[in-house]
Amino acid sequence: MKQLRAPLAGIRIADFTIHAAGPFSTHLLSQLGAECIKIESLTRPDAFRKPHAVYGRMQAATFDQVSANKLSVRLNLKHPEAVALAKRLVAVSDVAAESFRPGVMRRLGLDFDALCEVKSDLIYLSLSSSGQSGPDSHFAGYAPLFGAWGGLGWMTGYSDGPPVEMRHVMDHCAGMHAALATLAALNQRRRTGQAQHVDVAAREVACAMLGDALVLASAGQQVQRLGNADLALAPHGIYATARADRWLTLAVRGDADWQALQRVLGCSTSDARFATVASRRLHRRELDALVAGWLRECDADDTACRLQQSGVSAHVSWSMQDIADDAHLRARGALTEVSAPDIAPRLAVGAPARFSRTDEVGIRRLTPALGQDEDYVFGELLGLDSATRADLVEREVIL
């Protein structure tokens, strides 16, 4: 079989992760070429196979981004023989990934130490809400809680309002950092031949998003929620335009930008408070009011384009529909159209970057049906004949 021309071609992942953050980390690695085998069971299917009423989804997802590219096998891990099979799968893999609460994998007999006995140079990724150690390590959590624990939720919001909850981007941000750390461990293994246990706490990834504020806090400084303001750039913010809910984001760096903004908008001011960068910073609120007035009757899209032509950083606040319609993202392969016999053509997030020599990155296959790849995984990789597999199904080891 021709090997994929992708950076991680040849890497295999035994994927025990569930929900969002963990599956996203292995999805990214799969986009980069790794073969990712998702291990579930009929009794404990992953979230996308079930209704998700709190999110307003009343049935299973037909397409699930984070499970795309993955192979699927069933293993009833409550059964010792299934655990033994999982170990055999790990033995022929490079990475094992899990996202349970600390202790669950140990109870299953699938913790780092146990799996190193079958794969001495295993890279083992644990991605959890609060990490594998510490007094809160047993805490359950989801993306909004990661942001709350980590301080990012507190720091985000209108300066006179409540904190703001982080959503899936927080899960996926944690997943991306986990994928990065896994790659570092793989590169380390190539040098040392040693196993590694990577421990990613999603709340600590949230902390990493406010590393500067934490430096200030360590020095005893009080840090404030800034809303859309910036301490260096003015004018800076998100402004209403002629069309309802069509907002323009604007960041003016210095005098050249400031002059260009006035030129493009056909507006000007001789107010001395706005004559220098330092003065504009000092009178940020008054300046914001002035610029908001200038932009109120503008066409956001046209103004963003004209400002960019003059070197000013501006962009419309885009909905997902705007993104779906964007030629630039499609040209880059960041957006890709996917379809399958039971899935009408739709857009998905494609390659995370463009690689000049290993360019077969991105989505290769869609959401797997539960257990659809057992011929390959149990048959080819583990060498189980069909009678043995039928027996395992019969006894609900494969379930």
Partner: protein, 390 residues
């Protein structure tokens, strides 16, 4: 022990990995920072005036040093290289000759003036094993490759900004402009993506040689925002007005704010117990999760009334005992003083160029077999040349 105070160690995940970083943006600097945190030897090439990030807010009172630069530069070395001059360009090439990874954010239009050639492939001819990662707001190719952006633009070009705030904050201020996330969230996604792709390409180098990797901050933010695109494919265009949990979310307590979210039946049962098994929650219809979703606003009103009468810590402690996911919205000071964070050694002492010492988050990941070093320092401008001359 997840981290170590040893200042240098030969046994870090990226020991032996040499990285050259030319960064003007938070994104490129964060990419280098993540690699440095894992043991890579990262050399910042700075202009004679120093990286603009050295002056970037927020600033430490007293010394006036940039807390952002301190965070982004721990563990890196600094060398001055004026890339608009031949001497600086030669220095860059000397550094690249020894490097495995080159991370830069030089706009495509300015590359030729920096001696990089207008085409990225130019470098691969001279340094065939080099992984060259460019991280730009909209990438190096595509119709908008020449567009510029700051953090606020990036967060909204990637789709997440339009969806913020949601929940309680939107309910209070429905007419206000959408929000950005604090700090440099969008740039950090770009930096993490750049570091991830750099290591993927480095992994492939023995087979494929070096290569050019074109990373876009907008792409990275769309990547982490994939769920909203998935929802669009399902027929639902998300908006901050409607992107709220049917019940749960941000709650004001007697003395602060907390986040509460129950996605599973057993968590709902725990929540009703937390609330003291009130009569309204005994409605048999609420045993059905779909019915609970339909009556989410009503449920939230009950929860809000109860939360306002209880202190945060007490609620969170009891909630976690009952298996109900709940967390206090913590301030940065509470985070840095957090018992959990201290137990995990999340922060390390770092010496700044002024000699001042602060604590800095060591890394957002831990390696149990070879703990990361957490103490460190922030290099003064051009420190490597000064050492060379000494």
């Amino acid at each position: 022990m997840p981290f170590t105070d040893v200042k240098s160690s030969s046994d870090q995940p990226l020991t032996g990995c040499r990285v050259v970083e030319c960064s003007h943006s938070v994104a490129a600097a964060y990419a280098g920072r993540l690699l440095a945190a894992m043991g890579a030897q990262v050399v910042m090439l700075e202009p004679e005036s120093g990286s603009a990030l050295r002056q970037a807010p927020p600033w430490l009172e007293g010394s006036g040093e940039s807390a952002l630069f301190a965070y982004l530069s721990v563990g890196k070395s600094s060398r001055i290289a004026a890339l608009d001059q031949s001497q600086g360009q030669q220095l860059l090439r000397d550094e690249l000759a020894q490097a495995h990874i080159f991370i830069e954010d030089i706009p495509v239009a300015q590359r030729a003036a920096c001696g990089l050639g207008s085409q990225a492939q130019t470098l691969s001819q001279d340094f065939p094993q080099l992984v060259h990662v460019s991280v730009l707001p909209f990438g190096a190719t595509g119709p908008k490759a020449h567009w510029s952006a700051e953090e606020v633009n990036l967060l909204h070009a990637g789709g997440e900004g339009y969806l913020l705030p949601n929940g309680l904050s939107y309910e209070i201020f429905p007419e206000r402009a959408p929000l950005k996330i604090y700090g440099h969230f969008a740039s950090y996604q770009a930096g993490a993506s750049a570091a991830m792709c750099a290591l993927a390409a480095w992994w492939a180098a023995p087979t494929h040689g070096g290569q050019y990797v074109d990373v876009s901050a907008q792409d990275a933010n769309l990547t982490v925002g994939a769920f909203a695109l998935q929802r669009l494919g399902d027929g639902s265009l998300e908006h901050r007005a409607t992107r709220k949990f049917r019940y749960g979310g941000v709650f004001q307590t007697q003395d602060g704010y907390l986040e509460l979210l129950t996605l599973e039946d057993r968590q709902w049962q725990g929540l009703t117990e937390l609330l003291g098994t009130p009569a309204w929650a005994q409605d048999a219809a609420l045993q059905d999760p779909l019915e609970r979703s339909r009556r989410g606003d009503e449920i939230n009103q009950h929860i809000r009334t109860w939360m306002a009468q209880h202190p945060t810590q007490e609620i969170v402690r009891r909630a976690q005992e009952l298996g109900v996911p709940a967390a206090k919205y913590r301030t940065p000071t509470e985070v840095i003083e957090g018992e959990h964070e201290r137990a995990r050694g999340l922060f390390g002492k770092v010496a700044l160029p002024s000699g001042r010492e602060v604590e800095v988050l060591a890394a957002p990941f831990q390696f149990h077999c070879t703990p990361l070093r957490r103490a460190g320092r922030v290099a003064g401008l051009g420190e490597m040349q000064a050492k060379d001359q000494a």
